[in-house]
Symmetry: C2
């Protein structure tokens, strides 16, 4: 078994749902905390210096981070519900193995090298993606974040206190100031590397993207006895909005998805009183994202008028385009035999950090292109190529 396969096998069972084969690794819930404990063990076994930033993010350091100008790598360990094995953990496992590879090569870094594990990157529990890195960067108010609730009504503050003994602390310019650059390795979420016949690529930019909550309100009533003409059924307005989002995204060359919905009371024999849904929209420009959302909102309002319902739109998180650092991007591509440079529609902690430090991303080939699903996959050989590439990059940057 290769070094990658061996380390990977240790975490493969953690939080895996036997039925779907997908992962349930929600931030601060047992499976994600078991992975975090595993990471801390791995870091200590490598004599790395471990610190937590008061926001749930963990850093494991080779060398003294207070020296500054550190080379940071890493990713996250939480998953979307029934998500794949690679999104997040591949970056963390590769970072540990890249440190091993550098030590085997006898490399003595001049700059400190750190491995970061960021908390709640997916936003699957508290609704705000990249929550840990946003808190660290001061891009979200810690009091507002503390009050965010999960689907069971548990606040982030409660979840963090249970797991860590404290709530979110907020901006840590002292820690951010030590970081010289950040390089995140991630499984590709698309098939561009397959088409290009390359195992590893470099990111150019993250599309502008955001999440909007749509609340459709009508009148709960009996499904059997209420005349069709008397209904104010928000499920209809919701359904028309789902179709409108798809049509508008196709028309404008964007991506739009309604992947999450909550229905009240969600009973077979009751017309719902309320339906809440989440719209995920992304495109190659902020203007296009805004056009999609505005068009969907208009169509939702028009349908609501027909259905006797109301609709409200709330932006939950909106991220502008992230263009990664051009110099770093080109340096990495050259270093990796002209690795192809690709944009991505997915958000990452690297997008948050790129506002503060030169940031880059490496992508590892995913033959199906599928992500956020149990079918997400990268072959071991490509993952090993990713480790080698990351080690090469860290050596180049830190020495």
């Amino acid at each position: 078994m290769s070094g990658f396969a061996e380390l990977w096998a240790q975490i493969a069972p953690v939080g895996r749902d036997a039925q779907t084969g997908g992962y349930l690794r929600y931030a601060y819930a047992p499976a994600e905390q078991a992975l975090r404990a595993w990471f801390l063990d791995q870091a200590r076994a490598r004599d790395l210096l471990v610190e937590e930033d008061g926001n749930g993010n963990v850093f494991a350091w080779w060398g003294d981070p207070s020296a500054g100008d550190a080379v940071l790598t890493g990713s996250h360990l939480d998953s979307v519900p029934h998500g794949g094995a690679y999104d997040g953990p591949l970056g963390v496992v590769s970072a540990l193995l890249a440190v091993d590879a550098l030590r085997e090569r006898g490399v003595r870094p001049v700059r400190p090298i750190g491995i970061a594990v960021f908390a709640e990157e997916e936003g699957s529990r508290f609704g705000l993606a990249c929550l840990g890195s946003r808190l660290l960067a001061g891009a979200v108010d810690p009091a507002a974040a503390a009050a965010l609730t999960d689907r069971d009504g548990i606040t982030l503050d409660e979840a963090m206190r249970t797991a860590l003994g404290h709530g979110p602390r907020g901006a840590r310019p002292d820690l951010l100031g030590r970081i010289g650059c950040y390089v995140e390795l991630h499984v590709e979420q698309g098939r561009a590397l397959l088409d290009l016949d390359r195992a590893v690529g470099v990111a150019s930019a993250i599309w502008p993207h955001g999440r909007w909550r749509l609340d459709f309100t009508g009148e709960a009533n009996h499904a059997g006895t209420t005349l069709m003409a008397d209904r104010r059924d928000p499920m209809l307005t919701f359904a028309a909005t789902v179709l409108a989002a798809n049509e508008q995204a196709r028309r404008l060359g964007a991506h739009a998805t309604v992947g999450r919905v909550q229905v009240y009371p969600n009973a077979t024999n009751a017309i719902p009183g309320k339906v809440s849904a989440w719209l995920d929209a992304r495109a190659d420009s902020t203007e296009t994202v805004e056009q999609v959302v505005a068009a969907v909102h208009l169509r939702a309002q028009a349908r609501a008028a027909e259905d006797g319902t109301t609709v409200t739109l709330t932006a939950e998180s909106v991220s502008p385009e992230t263009e990664f650092h051009g110099g770093l991007r080109d340096r990495l591509s050259k270093l990796l035999d002209g690795a192809p440079i690709l944009p991505t529609g997915a958000g990452h902690d690297a997008g948050v950090l790129s506002a503060f430090v030169p940031t880059a991303m490496l992508f590892v080939r995913n033959p199906t292109g599928v992500s956020h699903s149990p079918a997400e996959h990268a072959p071991d050989a490509d993952c090993e190529a990713g480790v080698t590439a990351l080690a090469t990059v860290l050596e180049d940057l830190a020495c």
Copy 2:
């Protein structure tokens, strides 16, 4: 406080959700079991003989039920999620008060009078409406019923064993054979009595109705990175089907509702892999119900072909039209000063029992017509008129 208001106040807080004002009284869950215990106390306080039928249904007898030809009344204590206070409990409370009224009048019944509390009438926990009365009547196989699961994967067998110490026993022809007739009092689920300016009405028939599960299967994938053209998004097929159900019901003069949906994984940044939805369809003829369901299924299949998804349709429960006993219906209407005779789109245990014994229903005016919602309401004065009417009916039938 009137007798009705006093008894009603005792159960008003049980299972009430403080936020919605609706009730969460799922079969065999704590709130419904608290109501059941309350009912047993009330029955014992009236020296009624209590028996359970092995299917979760409870009977409280005034007189010796083994004498046969009994006059049975009653209803159920479970609710739809966030349902109203009246659907079910009004029939049970009215039955207790009608017995009190007869005793105050010094009535000595010749036939035994029974009060039934049927289990899981709404089907909100295990998906099959009128589950208790269907088991009693042998209209559902007890082994199949035992294996039904709730949303947490708990089987009916487990839930019954926890609450009662046994699983479902199935058909009880011995108990059914004792029942001479059944009269269920229920809050009206419509506004016909309001329009007619009458507090109490008599049922003519229950519309044919049923529940069908629709499973839409596609491919889970990343909401940000998956090209619109590469998607196989079952949420789209689901949404088109919701709109088709509404259109077809309006076209055919039927009622169709999609009130419940489950999305997998139900994450903002994931295209769903699967969406399951439930279609509730009712009309004044079985043929029309079948037309609606067939038309919806066709439209769903056509859309699935466009979306690259699949759809399967499964009938979960289908009930033919129930025409209540004509002689009993006319006798009750005459007895109650020519109470109006109304059909209903709602299913009831009375519909199940009507296949075995002469059965009738009394409706109590509901000024909003709203049901299966916290807004469901009947004024105290109308509820008292209902108690008086039920007492009059029981006296007439039992003496």
